[in-house]
Symmetry: C2
Subunit: 393 residues, 2 copies
């Protein structure tokens, strides 16, 4: 088969709020090859990723992503790695490229899964997809009491793990942060898995992070996520040396396999969190999962939009039995819920399972997506190089 078409659809809520909620827009990718269609999703900034697909060439190592994908042969999973290698070589100097490529790569897996009538994780070589323990991802409340109430609620909803992040945490006093952590633990109950996300609040300042460790340890926190920016490897390692039972978690910003390896090799993290919509898709994420596994680091998915993105994020570590915690967004905007015909919901045992269907196992709700479609047009020298295509199955 040849890749005959790659189309991008920018979807958005009518109004995008200035809050840390990544489900307010989405960039959906449709790939056609032979009689098959695959779907994928790129993380963040739809217009910029569209531009990097269609932009005129700057030079031989800075070509539009389109040039390296359209017309390529796609028959086996080996073709996916080959096509991605071509994209990387031809767009080496195009910084946005990995985000654009991610959605395409995911769609290629979905398409081949449909062709071979096989779920993606099996194409990756995993005989079984192990159930994952979802954690409810929440913002800290503005007050400890509000955080306590939120923790009670997710616990009542049946979640055995919860993550609290952003909000006031890390910005005020050490004592105020300690009260927040204690409130989260109290609300969650002593058996719950408590995860804390500092949202890069301390940039790379180890001294500001250190005094927070005692309260995290006292509350039996499993991980402290993103105390620092992704690149601050030595800051992560310095904090990890003193964090005891609280492990460092990070990696969502990684847009290459190398960046994830560096966090594993040099940042002393205990959990590596990878977004398939950023790192270049499912295969690089899978390779990071294998690399982490061999080094005693636990892999966790990062995802915050639709069931399609969630399914893609679960495939790379489906076969790792003991990497059991998974991110599971619980406060999605209507767009993210409406995009797909199926949702992935925890089973009666509270665990999340990958759909046992071909490809990613998720069908796009075309009519619903049309309601959120943002029409765009890019013109260069009077010639239209991108106009939102017709959205059809």
């Amino acid at each position: 088969m040849r890749i005959e078409a790659v189309d991008f659809f920018y979807l958005s809520m009518p109004e995008v709020l200035d809050i840390g909620d990544g489900s307010q827009d989405a960039l959906l990718v449709r790939v056609q090859a032979g009689p098959y269609v695959g779907w994928g999703e790129c993380e963040a900034s739809p217009l910029v990723s569209i531009a990097s697909f269609v932009t005129p060439m700057s030079h031989s190592a800075c070509k539009p992503v389109r040039d390296s994908v359209l017309g390529q042969t796609l028959d086996t999973v080996a073709d996916i790695a080959r096509i991605c290698a071509v994209v990387h070589a031809n767009s080496l100097d195009l910084l946005q490229m990995p985000h654009t490529l991610s959605g395409i790569e995911i769609a290629l897996w979905d398409l081949l899964g449909k062709r071979f009538e096989t779920p993606v994780y099996k194409l990756l070589g995993a005989p079984t997809a192990y159930a994952k323990q979802p954690y409810a991802s929440q913002l800290f409340g503005d007050t400890p009491h509000e955080t306590y109430t939120k923790a009670r609620r997710v616990s009542a909803d049946g979640y055995r793990a919860a993550k609290f992040g952003w909000g006031p945490y890390g910005l005020g006093s050490v004592a105020a942060d300690a009260e927040q952590i204690a409130a989260a633990r109290e609300g969650l109950g002593s058996d719950g898995i408590l995860l804390v996300d500092a949202g890069t609040v301390w940039l790379d300042d180890v001294e500001r992070a250190l005094p927070r460790l005692a309260a995290l340890r006292a509350a039996d926190t499993t991980w402290l996520e993103e105390p620092f920016l992704s690149g601050a490897l030595s800051a992560y390692a310095a904090l990890a040396r003193q964090s005891g039972s609280v492990k460092m978690a990070g990696g969502e910003g990684c847009h290459s396999e190398y960046m994830a390896q560096h966090m594993i090799d040099y940042a002393a993290i205990g959990y590596v969190q990878i977004d398939t919509g950023r790192i270049g898709g499912i295969l690089p994420a899978y390779r990071v999962a294998q690399y982490a596994h061999a080094r005693g680091v636990t892999y966790v998915n990062h995802t915050f939009t639709s069931a399609l993105a969630l399914s893609a994020s679960l495939q790379p570590f489906a076969g790792l039995e003991h990497d059991v915690i998974c991110e599971y967004p619980v406060e999605l905007k209507p767009l993210a819920l409406a995009m797909t015909r199926q949702r992935i919901v925890p089973d009666d045992d509270g665990m999340v399972r990958i759909p046992d269907r071909p490809g990613l196992g998720i069908d796009i709700d075309i009519d619903a997506c049309r309601r959120y479609l943002v029409p765009c047009e890019i013109t260069v020298r009077g010639r239209v190089i991108y106009a939102t295509p017709e959205l059809s199955a």
Copy 2:
């Protein structure tokens, strides 16, 4: 003063060829604050960087670069760092951001330099700008004889240093590569500084690079540049352990200070090559120069377009007396030559000096730029969010 306008101008040769020549297009940035105008340049893929300036917000950490720059106070150099920190926080998930920011940041320095009637390197704290030894950057010839002829020519032109890269190097046999290296040395003469650029040809495969070291050592090669991709830190370090007198060079792909630090800390490079048009501008490049200097690593500029970009690339290490080698593009396209009223040419002693004028010391040739202007328009939901502005002084 407040930043009243930031305008992007996409310039291009009428035809862009599929060759490794980054001077075929350019993204010029004009910043206005009070009565002053500053100019900067972003490296590579103009349309994508324009899109990241104007794109609609995805969420609170994925805003268009524009939102964090327009209206900001700009009175002192401290404001530049503050504005860039805002951009980083607000556009954390916008991958293209550092390339877009680079041109803006450079323009801010140029503007403040004009305001204070001071060259940028002095604003950075360097009392003197030391002369640099330019190397002529060339592609390998298709044959050793062609490489020999090229080396003879740059030597006759007065260059005491030359870099050969890309072309057939690294793709064929070890013996063929050895002949190329020997030809370059012979053409350059025994006194010339010989630099070799492998153009990431071996990706991260140390075994393919190792057998090339003997010929490089025999020809007294000063550095081997980019044997591997920027992220392949452990491959660099493994090769460096066996390379003896031939030092590793790399870093042009770094789009953050952290990435450059990682190459210094973990890749065992002897030379770190930074492009101010990619890393976020002049200040992060300056900080990398200081970081490298403190660790015995030599800083080198990376640049391949106009005299404006060359001046910006020279400012960060102007004050480092012993970091003397500088990249100096010698095969520029007419666009890159026409863009500016001044050129930076080697003096009678063969050395390159930063213009002793305010800011970057380079005036834009507005009329010439107009001839290369690529009109673009980006429309979202029927509203024009970018249209090429009028190009004036």
